[in-house]
């Protein structure tokens, strides 16, 4: 860590990890409710649990991205952050607002929450991922503006590297793409346009640019490769992301009342969306293979190397499986989507967030890297999480296949609940996978409490042993 003001990233990262743990707990409860519909009812109905699970995901990722921005922008600009104080105030505002929103979900019926928070004045509530009450949505905008003001001012007074320009630019995009969340007309076709502009605009557009810049930053730092080479790759990957992703939004418009040409445009362009992820893998492995030094933070390297692979599998491959219109005709709204959603969010965004946390946290704690013992614990956590996520995703895919076949494709389709019952074994495996994931997460979190920092003595001892 070269600049004192980078320290403001620390509370963001810690809060992100806490919210991540909360997300997983709600995920486990929701998974249990698939097996026993009355589990924790009426205290925690499924819709509230599901909403808390997905909203916590978004909030912790935003926390991690903001922390990453406060860490990276000063370092790249080679200057102190414009206002560390503002960054800290923003953190507490965001954290308290997120906690208050979650309490609102848990303690009040959703309709009452909507009535209390002015949803009648400007209706915005009720769409997946965008369930937040109006004051929270406005709060998100204000927090984003505060972040953007702070990092843009930092960028203006400092060095303007490509990584920084892409990161700050894509965070501006993140804020702008949130604005359609305030557009919720009665017309369901138009409402679904607005919804996808936010959701698709984020995860299949703008966030991929954030992913690219974070990965680029980490790779420059741990490999010592010329930034010129890294930047060229990032630019090409961004270009491909936008070429495929912008029109690729059409895959959300099938059969929604949108014009029929989206069936072709959405199918073709979204089928191209895996390309930038393939390029990301080639890029990461090429850069790592050419590395000029051995960075002691092996854990960060593992995260950075695994992110593009898992992102390709989750966003690229599992996304492609369901993206073509004739396939989507049968697979729409099944657990195929849940499988894709889980692996894509984990593989692309949770993992890049954990990558930057893995790289930055030791530095924020005043060391180049954690002790080997801590790193081994962290890597064990990585493997458990990655493996159990794989189990969950395969189970959900299995459930998706059962639904598509028994409920939709065969001549005498079975009713929904009968098909759910027949998929039960997959939901059991999914829940077991989820439990192991929590174990992996706890293992990962415990690595922060393994004492000591990396010393070259450890390395020497290890070398002698071998």
């Amino acid at each position: 860590m070269n600049y004192q003001s980078q320290q403001v990233a620390k509370p963001y990262f810690i809060a992100a990890l806490l919210l991540f743990a909360g997300q997983i707990v709600f995920g486990l409860i929701a998974g249990m409710q698939y097996l026993d519909g009355s589990f924790l009812f009426p205290a925690l109905p499924f819709n509230i649990v599901h909403m808390s699970h997905t909203n916590l995901l978004i909030v912790w990722l935003l926390m991690a991205f903001m922390g990453a921005a406060y860490f990276i922008v000063p370092e790249e600009a080679q200057t102190e952050l414009y206002s560390p104080k503002l960054a800290l105030i923003t953190f507490w505002v965001f954290f308290v607002a997120a906690a208050a929103t979650l309490l609102g979900y848990l303690l009040l019926p959703y309709s009452k929450l909507a009535a209390m928070t002015g949803d009648a004045i400007l209706p915005t509530m009720g769409r997946g991922y965008l369930e937040q009450p109006l004051p929270t949505k406005i709060g998100i905008v204000l927090v984003a503006l505060s972040l953007l003001f702070n990092i843009t001012m930092t960028l203006i007074k400092g060095r303007k590297t490509s990584i920084n320009l892409i990161l700050v630019g894509s965070l501006w995009g993140l804020a702008l793409l949130f604005l359609p969340a305030f557009y919720f007309p009665v017309d369901t076709v138009k409402a679904s346009y607005g919804w996808w502009w936010v959701v698709h605009g984020w995860v299949e557009g703008d966030w991929e640019l954030i992913l690219g810049s974070l990965l680029g930053f980490i790779l420059i730092k741990i490999t010592g490769i010329d930034r010129e080479i890294v930047e060229k790759w990032i630019y090409i990957i961004i270009a491909m992301t936008l070429i495929s992703g912008l029109i690729g939004i059409g895959h959300h418009y099938y059969y929604t009342g949108a014009p029929a040409y989206w069936i072709w445009l959405g199918s073709v362009f979204s089928a191209l969306e895996p390309i930038p992820f393939i390029m990301l893998i080639v890029f990461a492995f090429k850069i790592l293979a050419q590395r000029r030094r051995e960075h002691p933070n092996k854990a960060a390297m593992l995260w950075a190397q695994a992110t593009p692979i898992m992102a390709f599998l989750g966003a690229g491959l599992w996304g492609f499986m369901i993206t073509l219109a004739p396939v989507q005709y049968y697979a729409h709204g099944t657990n195929f989507t849940a499988a894709h959603g889980h692996l894509a969010f984990f593989g692309a965004y949770a993992m890049i967030a954990l990558s930057i946390i893995s790289y930055a946290m030791p530095l924020l704690r005043g060391r180049t890297a954690n002790s080997l013992a801590a790193q081994h614990r962290e890597m064990l956590g990585f493997w458990i999480m990655a493996f159990s996520m794989g189990v969950m995703v395969l189970a959900l895919t299995g459930a998706g296949i059962v639904t598509v076949y028994l409920q939709r494709a065969i001549d005498n389709p079975l009713p929904f609940m009968q098909v759910q019952e027949k998929s039960r074994v997959f939901f059991e495996i999914r829940e077991a996978g989820g439990a192991v994931f929590l174990l992996g997460l706890l293992t990962y979190l415990s690595s922060f409490f393994v004492a000591g920092e990396y010393t070259y003595d450890d390395e020497a001892k290890k070398a002698l042993k071998a």
Partner: protein, 194 residues
């Protein structure tokens, strides 16, 4: 041993920056998939495609093909010029290439306007949808190529390239040729083939 000798004797097979070739490859994959989609759609609606094809402006398409091919030739001359260290000449050829590129864009805009007034829209029929999407997508690539060429041209006028250092010119030229190549296939496929 022998492979090492071969690679030493061989001239660098790819002019320009390697990065642009990765990008070109990805772009060709994108257009390739679009062309395959067009072929699949056409194979199931041959009569419709043949009929609808008559409504688009083939003369403009032909002139545009000529403009892009000529522009590509100018870019070749620019590359040759800079290899011989004729810096000012290189800048002139690049300017000529860009002005032909601009004429392409202008003509294509007029054509889009004509199409709109003739009722050719994304929803009018399947052929029109492909015709408009493919040509508009290619149009955006010409715009992208023009942006790249304008940077290269600016640098050429400033004398930043020389016989020893002209990767930038080759990089821009390679991308411009790709835009041209794709148009030639597109023209044949969408405007001509019946």
């Amino acid at each position: 041993m022998s492979t090492a000798n071969v690679s030493l004797d061989m001239p660098d097979p790819l002019p320009g920056d390697l990065a642009i070739w990765i990008f070109i490859f990805a772009e060709l994959v994108v257009f390739g998939i679009l062309f395959i989609a067009y072929a699949v759609a056409r194979s199931t609606h041959v009569a419709l495609f043949d009929a609808a094809q008559l409504a688009i402006n083939r003369v403009f398409g032909f002139i545009n093909t000529w403009l892009l091919l000529t522009s590509s030739y100018f870019v070749v001359r620019a590359t040759q010029a800079i290899r011989n260290d004729r810096r000012q000449i290189c800048a002139y050829w690049l300017t000529a290439a860009m002005s032909f590129g601009a004429m392409f864009l202008l003509l294509k805009l007029i054509e889009f306007h004509q199409d709109a007034s003739r009722g050719i829209t994304l929803s009018s029929n399947l052929f029109d949808m492909f015709y408009l999407s493919l040509t508009f997508f290619h149009f955006m690539h010409v715009v992208m190529g023009m942006i790249i060429l304008s940077v290269v041209t600016y640098k050429a006028y400033k004398g930043r390239y020389s016989a020893a250092n002209h990767t930038g010119v080759e990089t821009g030229a390679s991308y411009w040729h790709m835009v041209d190549l794709v148009w030639v296939v597109l023209f044949a496929l969408v405007y001509v083939m019946h």
